[in-house]
């Protein structure tokens, strides 16, 4: 049996084993099932690499197992196996004894990059989130999270402080997209209510682009500390005020030109969303708009993949949340009194923006 022939066979296998719907396997093969049952190990490998700052080490030129291990305070065997697997996953390159950063890793996982998003691991892989998927079977049976009664949406759940601290980098691109969509650079008086502000980045970015914009951020008190810190860092704290509490119960007044609903509605069922949207509608000035950022799958709910998969996060972590389609959002906003909705899908982004006009 020639080694070369078998290695060739093996690369054919590789493309088959990784085949997607677009390139269906000609013969059934158990490899993809095996890989899926082991996919949790890829998450663990990425988490370990971020925690040990392996990508930054390589970015700085420590490219051999020995160098990376020394910098990470780890044993060489551990680093070699970790880096080989990151290479298999496409985040590193390997050239004889030297590892390099693939473009995604160089941009988003090297701590020296302004787009560094390694902190996201602390929210996405928070122990309570990981635990929520230990028993997804039970979540499917009951149709909602098996974490607890309310999952991540329980009052003052500290996970949202972690969210505010760790997920901001992932939101920089959509925050800029929203600032452009609402025409922030054109300036002019503009009162913005940022519901469940979290890190506050969406309101802060509008304020950075429009020196006349005034932002009111609403969230739990502990979360708002993070938003206020970000407002200070951006130098917009003079136009940044806060309302503490729950968006469903807090009195946020009226006369807003823009109400931001970013990554919020997906946590709730449709009647709950509609009750909030009525309050949002009442809070908007004439001509005002609600701006919703969401994972919005097509009506088939299985495309595009980077939006459609989000329903699983909601099943695992909330009692009734979902990745709603545009048709569903359109109906919710209309039922709440809005006259018209528009969906905008920014290129290269998993989330869509829905503009809803009073």
């Amino acid at each position: 049996m020639g080694t070369i022939a078998t290695v060739r066979q093996s690369s054919k296998r590789k493309s088959r084993a990784r085949g997607t719907k677009g390139s269906p396997a000609t013969q059934p093969n158990p490899m993809r099932i095996f890989q899926t049952l082991n996919a949790f190990q890829q998450t663990a490998a990425m988490r370990a690499a971020i925690e040990l700052d392996v990508f930054t080490a390589i970015g700085e030129g420590q490219t051999t197992v020995a160098e990376i291990a020394q910098r990470a305070g780890a044993v060489e065997r551990g680093i070699r196996i970790l880096c080989d697997n990151l290479t298999l996953m496409g985040f590193l390159t390997k050239n004889s004894a030297h590892y390099g950063l693939a473009p995604d890793a160089a941009m988003f996982l090297d701590r020296r990059s302004p787009a560094y998003m390694g902190s996201a691991v602390r929210f996405l892989n928070a122990p309570e989130i990981l635990r929520a998927y230990d028993n997804l079977t039970e979540a499917v049976r009951k149709g909602g999270t098996a974490m607890s009664e309310e999952g991540t949406i329980s009052p003052e759940n500290p996970i949202w402080v972690e969210f505010a601290r760790s997920m901001a980098p992932l939101m920089m691109m959509p925050a800029e997209a929203i600032a452009q969509i609402v025409g922030a650079d054109a300036g002019g008086k503009c009162r913005v209510l940022d519901i469940a502000a979290g890190h506050g980045l969406f309101g802060v970015t509008i304020a950075r682009h429009n020196p006349q914009a005034e932002i009111v951020a609403l969230d739990w008190p502990a979360v708002l500390e993070v938003a206020k810190e970000n407002a200070r860092k951006a130098g917009v704290e003079g136009r940044y005020s806060t309302i503490t509490g729950n968006a469903f119960e807090a009195d946020f007044g009226g006369g807003f030109d823009i109400v931001l609903l970013t990554n919020f509605l997906h946590h709730f069922d449709i009647p709950t969303c509609e009750s909030l949207l009525k309050k949002v509608h009442a809070g908007l000035a004439p001509g005002g708009r609600a701006v919703t950022l969401e994972f919005v799958p097509n009506d088939d709910r299985v495309s595009p993949p980077e939006a459609a998969f989000f329903s699983l996060i909601m099943l695992g972590s909330t009692p009734h949340g979902d990745a709603y389609t545009f048709a569903e959002y359109d109906r919710m906003f209309r039922n709440a009194g809005f006259t018209r909705n528009e969906v905008i899908r920014p290129p290269d982004a998993p989330e869509s923006v829905i503009l809803s006009f009073k």
Copy 2:
């Protein structure tokens, strides 16, 4: 903003976001990092679908959310989100309101299929295995499992009973391949020692093909109960005997024509493997062969992917195990006294067979 144009953009994104080393992304995009940090949810979805027997339901013609939910005793929202995600993962198809089985799922996940391998979830996702990856960072630091001192190789670890019970279906194809490679169909007197026999399938399959073969299976007592059950089911129990204990310490005698080392050596470091191989060498009759089934990556250790990834399983679950290259196995066997080694890579299989001649 036209919906059609943006949907088109989104399918371009899709192929990019899923790009592999062969088709590198032209521009960095955080989606693959985000997907990797959420990959544990794909494992959870597959596990839930197997536990709820969703694939069998669909195979039997219960193809709508309502039908599957009723059969699984689950809420429709849970089933809909689960099945949509299995569609995204390529294991189901979706055609308006009806789900169907993709070829891999029909063959390996429908309980009515003779190749059903859903039971593998009980070993691959055993709670102690999942827990081992909660803190892979620590495993990388120390260069071996953070589960416990010895991980899965601790004496009489009950995980190997689960392995023997649940992993047999995945081993049917390699067991047939090995029976062919050793020429079992040609018959003739043949004494086979099956080290760490587990489910016993490798020895049993040789015995099924060669009515003169006599099998001696070695493993922990609780594991051997499973092997003996499989020998009885195959009708070869009259030529099947057992030795209880640890391969490193048990006296297994000599005069064997074949010694099977299937998925065993990867758990240990090289000196430990060599000490066992010396014992194996002594146990072989003149002209005898050791037959090793293993994940054997190329010398670069990052190809082929379906073999190379296995090192991560060993890092997470054993103190010193690895996915050794053929060069490493060749050296180990030669150091133990074997004269010659040959590697055979059966098509469409992640594991290789190494024949080692006394």
